[in-house]
């Protein structure tokens, strides 16, 4: 599996030089992997750009995904353009969080799927921004006051960067100070749209911790990290920020995966930093598990708990992550009527037990 991911990574990061020499069987295996990992669009684009014809059936399938992704992203960004211009006039210009700005690192909008667009609300401007969005015709779905939807554009508003409002103990595992992120922001053109975005160092840390929180579930997050690492970075500033935010471990886990599993070439400063890193043996085992079983958020959360300084806070972090507050649990079980909220906790236990059994079965099968 790792070998294929290494090869897949070579293709999608535009580093494979021998694409034309792979036989039909080689292509099929790799295409299956690209499909499983949700990078069909980028895979297709790289092959087109290299002038390498894919087997007809794969080409047709991947082209459809590429075009669909391109359309979704193109429309969302064009709609965002209008919204940002309107907000600028209202003097509440927000900061667009990664992913949308990460599209600037990819060849075109068909190459990276994007769900909603995450927005950091300027400190103290929350109510004004929400009001301005409502005036523009945005509405919020039930139980998701932070989401604003209009047509094919969904904005997810944040006032903290690591969703500590949802799970308070996360604050002990890392904290990106919104004031500092605002101070260090920069202006960038993404797909021809001017927007305020994080500085590169903050983008890298944010992307790493986001991937970790979601158990490194999407392959494209590794590609994001790799592309961000290739950008001109101020390493001193990155290390200082990582230390200050307590996000060294999330970033280094991401880099470890890139180097050890995907055999990605990292900048020397990144490699040096990795070599200084000492992991506990349990952490090593969890990393192994997290990679094999990517997509299970629990492994990511467990790994993230190693960033918490004290043991009891680490326990608190794990408990609160597993059993979050009622409003979050209602989002986990969207069909559960609000009056039945007390049932959410037993349901959560059943959900976790079911996952545990499935994990155990997987482990037994793999032996």
């Amino acid at each position: 599996m790792s070998r294929d991911l290494h090869r897949l990574h070579l293709v999608v990061s535009g580093q494979a030089t021998d694409l034309a020499e792979w036989g039909d069987d080689g292509w099929r295996g790799l295409a299956t992997q690209a499909e499983e990992e949700g990078v069909e669009g980028l895979f297709y684009q790289r092959c087109r750009a290299a002038g390498v014809p894919l087997p007809a059936d794969i080409e047709e399938e991947f082209r459809a995904v590429y075009r669909e992704t391109a359309e979704l992203n193109f429309v969302a960004l064009e709609e965002l353009r209008g919204v940002l211009e309107g907000l600028q006039d209202e003097d509440v210009a927000p900061l667009v969080l990664p992913g949308a700005p990460l599209l600037a690192l990819y060849p075109d909008p068909g190459c990276r799927p994007m769900d909603d667009i995450d927005i950091l609300v300027p400190p103290g401007f929350g109510p004004r921004l929400k009001e301005a969005l409502e005036v523009c015709g945005f509405t919020s779905p039930a139980r998701h006051n932070e989401l604003f939807v209009r047509g094919r554009l969904t904005l997810d508003l944040h006032d903290d960067l690591l969703n500590c409002g949802r799970i308070g103990s996360r604050r002990h595992a890392g904290w990106m100070e919104p004031g500092e992120v605002w101070r260090d922001r920069r202006e960038e053109w993404v797909e021809g749209i001017p927007m305020t975005v994080m500085c590169r160092e903050d983008s890298l840390l944010f992307t790493a911790v986001h991937a970790l929180r979601h158990g490194f579930g999407r392959f494209v997050w590794f590609v994001d990290l790799h592309f961000l690492m290739r950008e001109p970075l101020d390493w001193e500033r990155l290390r200082a920020k990582a230390e200050r935010y307590r996000l060294e471990r999330p970033l280094l886990y991401g880099l470890r995966f890139l180097r050890d599993r995907l055999k990605a070439e990292l900048p020397n400063r990144g490699v040096e930093w990795l070599e200084e890193m000492r992991l506990r043996s349990l952490e090593e085992r969890l990393m192994e598990r997290a990679f094999v079983d990517r997509g299970r958020g629990e492994w990511g959360d467990l790994l993230w708990s190693f960033s918490v300084a004290s043991r009891w806070r680490q326990c608190l972090f794990v408990i609160e992550t597993v059993f979050p507050k009622p409003s979050v649990l209602l989002q986990v079980f969207p069909r559960l009527p609000r009056p039945l909220l007390p049932l959410a906790y037993p349901l959560r236990i059943v959900q976790l037990l079911a996952r545990g059994v499935s994990q155990l079965a997987k482990l037994v099968r793999s032996r």
Binding site: Y44, Y66, A70, F74, V75, E78, D108, G110
Partner: protein, 92 residues
């Protein structure tokens, strides 16, 4: 609709956004909230339209790109321009 040969063709209607892709391009009509997908040839023609090129110039470029005769290329350009006009992407 016949585009005049050797003449400048119509200009892109306002409110359109274009994005080149690996296998063509896309046009988004902001007002109608509609996306038009273009294949490689149509994307080339659209890019020429934006530069204000003439039908003959576009046809000559297609000859170089796709190894086709001038007559075939001109017929293709005219057909694509007619489709652009029908979709109200270009105006005279």
């Amino acid at each position: 609709m016949d585009a005049p040969k050797g003449e400048k063709i119509g200009s892109a209607c306002p409110g359109l956004a274009y994005r080149k892709l690996a296998d063509g391009g896309m046009i988004y009509d902001r007002e109608k909230k509609l996306v038009h997908h273009l294949n490689c040839t149509a994307a080339h023609v659209w890019e020429h339209c934006q530069q204000g090129d003439r039908v003959d110039e576009i046809a000559q470029d297609l000859c170089l790109r796709y190894d086709v005769g001038l007559q075939t290329a001109r017929a293709d350009v005219e057909m694509i321009l007619a489709e652009f006009a029908a979709a109200r992407l270009i105006a005279p």
